[in-house]
């Protein structure tokens, strides 16, 4: 009976410690009873092959032990699977789109097409594995900690606009373009205009989309995701001339900004998470807006006044850059003015966020203090 004892020893190792002896004793009795019944039918002892076949009928030790263990037996359960699948779809789409963009930029800026494809493929593959891994880890943690995500019970129809992306195919993309250009009316299946709120997609739907985007940005910032960009010279392929900005040490620049940007992303992700789980009051959301707006404004101010980019994006630097462009008769767009405009818009957006946040804080004691922000 060495075969049987070997089998039971392995099963025992996989069982919870407190129940091990009890379960193994019962299994031993079961297996031996079956062997005796089979031997009685055959009127002879079982061979080793027949005994092994019988043990195979009882089941693989991993499967047998798992049946005695309580708790979740899956990494992503049926309740959270649709949300996991949606989040992964969005993140993978962003990763693929950015990798495709990088490939096009490298290929059209005079680089070797095969090398550019290789880099883009590696970046896409690596990024997708990372995103799926992190998403799975997050859901695994939620399932086992029994964190109740409020959104699962309190979603509303007007929050569902963000799910349009989940159903996108070429026809839906064509309809979207048509609606934008007003060439023809949308097909009935894609016409959600009755549900279009005047303020666009509603709070929880925006938060979910923003959460996924911020998580992808965070993973890129900490180096877990790569899109294949090697430097500002990559932009030449898109007709953007970085000019003197190409000389800036981006590695040092990122090192200086690493923790401030990480803190900012963590703040924004926290706000989105709290909105999705429905745990953010209007006042708290206002305070988040003020804090993140102030952080973003501080960041822009530092880039404008004290960073290596500062001399080139400030208005006096812009005039010199335009003069340089005239002298070289370059057909490319200069990066510096684009950055200037981008920084100004970001600063205005940050100021707007602060004002919006203050408004929410002031308003909250006067209106209902509901956790849906309505």
């Amino acid at each position: 009976m060495t075969l049987v004892e070997d089998y039971l020893r392995i099963v025992a190792l996989l069982l919870p410690k407190g129940q091990r002896d009890d379960i193994v004793a019962e299994l031993r009795d079961t297996v031996l009873t079956r062997i005796e019944a089979r031997e009685s039918e055959l009127d002879r002892p079982l061979t080793e092959v027949e005994t092994e076949a019988l043990l195979r009928e009882v089941g693989h030790p991993l499967v047998v032990a798992a049946r005695y263990r309580g708790g979740a037996q899956q990494v992503v359960g049926p309740t959270l699977y649709p949300y996991w699948a949606f989040g992964v779809k969005i993140a993978v789409t962003i990763q693929l789109a950015l990798s495709a963009l990088v490939f096009v930029v490298h290929a059209f800026s005079g680089g070797d097409v095969a090398t550019a494809f290789g880099h883009a493929f590696y970046a896409a593959f690596d990024g997708i594995i990372t995103v799926v891994g992190f998403a799975t880890l997050a859901v695994w943690f939620i399932e086992r900690q029994r964190v109740r995500v409020d959104y699962l019970d309190r979603w509303r129809v007007r929050d569902l606009r963000v799910l349009e992306f989940a159903a996108w195919d070429l026809d839906a993309f064509g309809d979207w373009i048509a609606r934008l250009t007003h060439r023809r009316s949308a097909t009935p299946a894609n016409d959600l205009s009755p549900y279009r709120a005047s303020r666009g997609r509603e709070r929880a739907g925006r938060a979910l989309g923003g959460l996924v985007g911020c998580c992808v940005t965070l993973l890129w910032w900490v180096g877990a995701l790569h899109f294949g960009f090697t430097g500002l010279n990559d932009l030449r392929g898109m007709g953007i001339d970085p000019g003197p900005l190409a000389q800036i040490d981006l590695i040092h620049f990122k090192a200086v900004l690493f923790w401030p940007v990480l803190a900012y992303l963590a703040l924004v992700i926290s706000r989105y998470l709290l909105v999705v789980v429905g745990a953010l009051s209007t006042m708290a959301e206002g305070l988040f807006y003020v804090a993140s707006g102030a952080a973003l404004l501080a960041l822009v101010t530092w880039i404008w006044r004290a960073s290596p980019f500062g001399p080139f994006v400030r208005l006096d630097g812009l005039a010199a850059a335009v003069k340089l462009m005239d002298q070289h008769h370059s057909a490319d767009v200069l990066l510096a003015p684009l950055l200037s405009v981008g920084l100004i818009c970001t600063a205005l957006g940050a100021l707007g966020g602060i004002v919006h946040g203050l408004w929410l804080v002031v308003r909250s004691p006067l209106g209902e203090r509901d956790f849906d922000g309505r």
Partner: protein, 111 residues
């Protein structure tokens, strides 16, 4: 026919799943150990793998519906199961529910 056969098996398993627990509780109105319980259920037409039956028995015992004790029989220690008082009460409730479901289905099938 393969795909249809698989679909039938899958739906058949879903239909049987709830009835197995009821069958086990009914059969344990009298004391049995695992092997004889499995044989009795098989004779009733409710075949069940050991890998399904034994964890089910443990779960029912943890839920307070069964009692068990080890006894020596035929020179080997065997674990005997029977319904607990809570198990008897639960079985009666489940049988009432089973009869209600059965009556409803009979009405639907043969109006």
């Amino acid at each position: 026919m393969g795909a249809e056969g698989d679909l039938y098996e899958s739906l058949r398993m879903e239909l049987r799943r709830g009835s197995l627990t009821l069958g086990v509780l009914v059969r344990l109105r009298e004391e049995r150990y695992g092997y004889t319980l499995r044989q009795a259920l098989a004779a009733d037409g409710l075949e069940m793998e050991e890998s399904t039956l034994y964890p089910l028995l443990r779960r029912l015992e943890t839920q307070g519906l069964l009692l068990s004790e080890w006894r020596e029989e035929d020179r080997r220690k065997k674990r005997f199961y029977r319904l607990s008082p809570d198990g008897v009460a639960m079985l009666e409730r489940l049988l009432d529910e089973w009869r209600r479901i059965s009556a409803s289905l009979d009405k639907i099938i043969e109006p």
